[in-house]
């Protein structure tokens, strides 16, 4: 019996890394538990959907939801949590932008099933059995959630109050967000709870970035090792720093990996991939078409590289679905 604010954590299409980040609060989690009642946290605590359904609308102070939305079950859960919650925070890249599961938008349900249940070398499925939505066994009807063609962000599914970016969001930003909410220091609705500067601005390698970046050929971390001090772009590595929000703590940069864009774009940028394309292409050091083509050949997969975390939230959202065929 307490009047502590109620907090829920939920996960949709995600890897579990976002849950890990909450555990990474370490002793901090005890302070959180002192201040709030956790009423739902499937990864750690045994609450059921009916427990949430039994609550009054708006009874939960804040729900932190991670993961993209791909199944009808996830849609039902987030709609339920939206109803029961005063605030909904999209937690992590997948809920914020679509994230890695969002790359599923280059394909569709049929092709995903084809791959997963027949084509994968470790699968032996000669009679081509696929998951069906409704199955009857011994007179009992079992129902599986619908698997959609298109992955959505949380904000495309329900009204979202705040976004915590990152794959996963760093613990300090989580902590700041939790305390801000508990203390009622709330920013404008729809805000991304992270600094609003591009990563290059805070990058430790910024000093080595030349006045004009001129790229003669692209390199890949899979086939060569970057210099640990020099700006990745100056070396010819595709680094999404110019089109990505800072605040991540430069975990990748410090591990000698170029930025992959998990924080999404700063405010005002509508489409992270298009903006980055604009930036990287202008760095190409060539004035004739053939040379430009040759250099561009070094970027194998522009869509997957520039929209690695943001495809569902982009202007085009997904690849074209054939119509009328």
């Amino acid at each position: 019996m307490s009047a502590k604010p109620k907090v829920a954590f939920y996960w949709c299409a995600s890897c579990g890394g976002c849950e890990e980040t909450i555990v990474d609060l370490n002793e901090g989690i005890l302070k959180v538990v002192e201040a709030v009642d956790i009423v739902l946290w499937p990864v750690a605590l045994d609450f059921k959907r009916r427990d949430v359904e039994a609550m009054a609308d708006g009874e939960i102070a804040v729900s932190f939801i991670n993961g993209a939305v791909r199944l009808s079950e996830q849609e039902e859960w987030v709609e339920l949590l939206r109803r029961k919650s005063n605030l909904v925070v999209a937690f992590g890249s997948c809920a914020h932008l679509g994230g890695i599961p969002g790359l599923g938008n280059v394909t569709n349900r049929e092709l995903v099933f084809e791959r997963k249940y027949t084509a994968v070398p470790t699968i032996d499925n000669p009679t081509r059995i696929f998951p069906s939505q409704v199955v009857t066994v011994d007179g009992h009807t079992l129902e599986l959630p619908r698997f959609y063609d298109t992955v959505k962000t949380l904000g495309q599914t329900v009204d979202v109050d705040y976004y915590l970016p990152g794959c996963p969001p760093p613990s300090n930003l989580v902590w700041d967000a939790v305390t801000a909410i508990l203390e009622g220091r709330l920013p404008e609705k729809g805000a991304v709870l992270a600094p609003n500067k591009p990563l290059c601005d805070t990058c430790s390698r910024n000093e080595t970035k030349p006045e004009t970046l001129a790229i003669k050929g692209f390199k890949r971390v899979a086939t060569s090792t970057p210099d640990p001090q020099e700006c990745f772009l100056a070396q010819g590595y595709v680094c999404l720093g110019p089109a990505t929000r800072s605040g991540c703590g430069e975990r990748c940069i410090n591990a000698n990996m170029p930025c992959r864009g998990c924080f999404g774009p700063p405010d005002g940028v509508v489409d992270q991939g298009a903006k980055f394309l604009s930036a990287i292409a202008s760095m190409i050091d060539a004035t004739d078409g053939e040379e430009v083509e040759r250099i561009i050949g070094g970027i194998e997969d522009p869509l997957g590289t520039f929209y690695r975390f943001s495809l569902p939230s982009s202007l085009l959202g997904r690849t074209r679905i054939a119509t009328g065929g």
């Binding site: 280059v106 349900r109 696929f130 069906s132 939505q133 619908r146 959609y148 063609d149 298109t150 959505k152 495309q156 509508v270 489409d271 991939g273 298009a274 903006k275 394309l277 604009s278 990287i280 292409a281 202008s282 190409i284 060539a286 004035t287 078409g289 430009v292 083509e293 561009i296 970027i299 997969d301 522009p302 869509l303 997957g304 520039f306 982009s314 202007l315 085009l316 959202g317 997904r318 690849t319 074209r320 679905i321 054939a322 119509t323 009328g324």
Partner: protein, 157 residues
């Protein structure tokens, strides 16, 4: 079944968004007008300061919001650009944009980069007419219609 209009009485008229640079291509279009050169009215011109100002976001937004094709037109390289190198920037972005749009399933013929000077009114008219023809052959893009987030039916096995 198909609505690309190729075989109907009312042929499909594509919507084209044209980003025309303020120094060369927009005056080129103007010249086509003052010379009374006839060209199809499918293109909606948007005057920009430079082809180098055409952020790929503009092109993608046009396609996502209902355009069937996009024309980017600027000053002839290498040296006609009023800002010296804006057209070169456009030239570098264009092939990478096409490569990415093809991954999205958008045919590269839908987006064209052309150099049209202020004296090339005839050429401007030819480019627009040519684009209309290409897009009529490709049919409508209908991005929003075709990309509804969840199909209403036929989804469940």
């Amino acid at each position: 079944m198909s609505d690309n209009g190729a075989d109907t009485l009312c042929p499909f008229e594509p919507k084209i968004i044209g980003f025309l640079c303020r120094w060369c291509s927009y005056p080129g279009a103007d010249l086509a007008g003052t010379n009374r050169i006839k060209y199809p009215p499918n293109m909606i011109p948007i005057r920009v300061m430079c082809s180098g100002r055409v952020d790929p976001t503009f092109v993608i937004k046009a396609l996502a919001d209902g355009a069937d094709g996009v024309l980017i037109a600027g000053c002839h390289p290498p040296a006609d650009c009023h800002y010296q190198s804006g057209n070169i920037k456009a030239m570098r972005r264009y092939p990478l944009l096409l490569k990415m749009l093809e991954q999205f399933g958008i045919e590269k013929e839908r987006v064209r980069l052309e150099w049209i000077s202020a004296s090339e009114g005839t050429r401007f008219a030819q480019v627009v007419a040519g684009m209309r023809e290409t897009l009529q052959r490709l049919g409508p893009l209908n991005w929003r219609v075709g990309q509804a987030f969840q199909p209403a039916e036929g989804e469940v096995q």
